[in-house]
Amino acid sequence: MKKLAVLAILALLVIISVFALSTINFDKSGYKVGDTAMDFSLKNVDENRVSLSDYRNTKGFIIAFTCNTCPFSQANEGRLIAIDQKYKEQGYPVIAINPNDSNAKDGESFAAMQKRARQKHFTFPYLYEGDQKVHEIYGAVKTPHIYLLNKEKGELIVKYIGAIDDSARNASNVDEKFLENALDALLAGNPIKVTSTKAIGCSIKS
């Protein structure tokens, strides 16, 4: 009992990540709420390139780092579609980015992304990050990982970072809709009460 205890918290569903056991460099830098976010130009599943500057009439963006294979990402796909459909018209479209290196993780290739987007009827762009490492600049470390951006004086300001809601695994057990609360506050011109949250997600494989 007095011996050293090692508590290893493992995602056994994410079998490859657990037993490939690559040491992931956790970069704690990246954006904080209030920072200015950068634009990017990434290839969408429809083969067209997407930049945030392409969107002239939006008030901001919901940047969602997500992927094909992570169970937590999959469990949130329906919610992401519903949020896109609800908030796109109000000026905040979802832009999804897959930050996983397709060489480091099976099932994350561009072709697999195209298939996933088609099968799940994504209503939003689903962008292939490739070697551009947008997630490192943003500071995303897992999927899903959400950044809510608001256009202010021509700049994209980070307003919220974290989870979609307080029940990533089970959509029927949601009490607090963190992202929607932040969006509603922005739309109403009110301060956002909860600006960052944490949730279990799959480490980005890069």
Binding site: A11, L13, I24, K142, G201, S203
Partner: protein
């Protein structure tokens, strides 16, 4: 030294995914952490933890190290050098 595996698998996939995995890997025991509202308990494990898994916590009495990553044998051994085993 005791190693405790904690799974964050979806409880409804315990039979279909977790148990076959545990058997395949010949793990002696795995705790399925079926705790909702992770935003409230992630910081209690470690303030620096984003929630990304795998993650590892090593502790003995007052000594405590948190890693937002998994380990292989040699890197785990290296992480334990500061501990009086």
């Amino acid at each position: 030294m005791k190693v405790i595996f904690v799974s964050l698998d979806f409880p409804e996939q315990m039979e279909s995914k977790l148990i076959p995995f545990v058997k395949e890997r010949k793990l002696e025991s795995v705790i399925l952490l079926d705790a909702p509202k992770s935003n409230s308990w992630i910081p209690k494990v470690d303030e620096s933890w984003s929630g990304a898994i795998p993650a590892t916590l090593i502790y003995k009495k007052g000594q405590r190290d948190f890693y937002e990553n998994g380990f292989d044998y040699s890197s785990l051994k290296a992480a334990l050098t500061d501990y009086d085993l």
